[in-house]
């Protein structure tokens, strides 16, 4: 960022980088707070309700109040849990979700790392969160939480495969794993990858939705079967950490999708007078809206349907997409 990573290490540079990370964290937290508000409003309107409208003008302070409540609640640690794992699991789960954002280029100049394995970095680091979920479910010493944890792991591992395979078409087309190079390839060719890689995009949309544990794939926390899934025993700010993880992944995955398929900060139709960061934000919000829309309109699937859909539906389609891209690339069409 701003060329600091190329310079020699010094405490000044370290401080600047740390402050930049804190600023990013604040932006993400603000996003999470208002994403929850937006989600409740959107779902409310879709279901002919008003949504939150009491706290502050148009209910704008509702989520602020909710977050404050979670933070000042008593931090209850049940007696028969595995204390160390119980305390550390939310942290193991949250840290990777924030780490992956470092790889995402927001505009031409606003990015944290220019890493040559950006996509692999995203896939690898995000898989670490699953450990936190599994350990949290196990350490709680509760049948619902351990079942929720197991389901979550099975689901996230299964859907990680089509998610990563759906990237491969793009990697084949650009010959790079660097996210900035991928955006530049889209700007140079003038066509966003959503069009030549439409199958990949659809697979990514579905697998990404499942990876985020959101409806219609929110089996890990199916409240009518499992009470609340892997975080049944958690309360206060540790519960908030698990919730935060989900929403930070929403942020990261939507940003990644913008970068990969929607041309990143590229302005369509030559509308370059609107700054690139605004374009990025608009595309990003569109994808976030899609997630809320899906939540408001789809019923939850059953566990065997979920697994069959991943292994018999999405993975063959993603593989076919990789094959097709390779063939078209060899023929010289891409």
């Amino acid at each position: 960022m701003f060329g600091i990573l190329d310079q020699q290490f010094s405490w000044l540079n370290f401080t600047i980088l740390a402050l930049a990370a804190v600023a990013l964290l604040l932006v993400v937290l603000l996003f999470v707070m208002y994403a929850i508000y937006f989600e409740r409003k959107v779902i409310g309107w879709m279901q002919l309700r008003k949504g939150p409208n009491r706290t502050g003008p148009w209910g704008l302070f509702q989520t602020v109040a909710d977050v404050l409540k979670l933070l000042i609640k008593e931090d209850v640690v049940p007696k028969k849990v595995d204390r160390f794992l119980f305390l550390i699991a939310p942290i193991i789960s949250f840290t990777p979700s924030f780490m992956v954002i470092a790889a995402i280029p927001f505009t031409e100049n606003l990015y944290f790392t220019d890493i040559n394995v950006g996509l692999l970095y995203y896939g690898a680091i995000s898989s670490l969160s699953i450990t936190g979920i599994l350990l949290g479910g196990w350490a709680s010493n509760n049948k619902y939480s351990i079942m929720g944890g197991m389901r979550s792991v099975a689901q996230m591992i299964s859907y990680e495969v089509p998610l990563i395979m759906s990237f491969l078409g793009i990697v084949l087309m650009t010959g790079s794993l660097n996210l900035r190079d991928i955006v530049h390839a889209q700007i140079d060719s003038g066509i966003w990858f959503i069009f030549p890689q439409f199958i990949g995009f659809v697979v990514f949309l579905i697998a990404g939705n499942a990876e985020l544990n959101r409806t219609p794939f929110d089996l890990p926390e199916a409240e009518n079967e499992l009470v609340a899934g892997y975080f049944v025993e958690y309360s206060g700010f540790r519960f908030a950490f698990f919730m935060l993880t989900e929403y930070v992944y929403t942020f990261a995955l939507s940003s990644l999708m913008v970068t990969l398929f929607l041309g990143g900060w590229d302005a369509p139709f030559g509308l370059t007078f609107i700054p690139p960061i605004v374009w990025f934000a608009l595309k990003f919000l569109l994808l976030v809206f899609y997630l809320f829309w899906a939540r408001a309109t789809f019923p939850r699937v059953k566990i065997q349907q979920l697994m069959e859909f991943a292994w018999k539906g999405l993975i063959p389609v993603a593989l076919f997409n990789v094959m097709l891209t390779a063939v078209l690339k060899t023929l010289g069409i891409f």
């Binding site: 020699q8 595995d82 692999l120 898989s127 670490l128 450990t131 196990w138 351990i146």
Partner: protein
Amino acid sequence: MTGQYLAFFIFALMAITGGVFMINLSRVIHMVLSIGLSFFGVAGLFIMLQAEFLAFVQVLIYAGAITIMMAMGTMMTQGGDEGEKPKRRLHNVLSFLSAVLVGAFLLYGIYTTSWPTEPTDLGANNIKEIGVTLFSNFVIPFELASILLLVALVGAIVLAKRDGEKD
């Protein structure tokens, strides 16, 4: 003190403490977590050696997948006997001796190999190099490894299926 030195120190510490805890902890699930820490530290060391691809594959396969496989395996199979282990003096002495022997052997190997003294510039595009090398010079080993993995996968499914039919 450079940043590289600092990072090396942190990652090496992670790798070593992970390993030591793995051996000394008594509950299997804690061991799994500490070996995960160790894998992560090793991945950090790979990054410092400019092997980013290897590093993140290490995170993906070892710190992510293998740790979870082990954790799930122990959760499914745990018998609950986590009591005091019987103390076996001869066993301890023998394992210490064999550890010293292996260590000495490795050190001997490290000291007698002639390492290239000039650092090779791996460049920013080392993933591409890995890909090209893998698919030109090492195609047959690569394909053989993939067949091995496929056989293991099919074997696992067959075993799981047979187990289910008995019920």
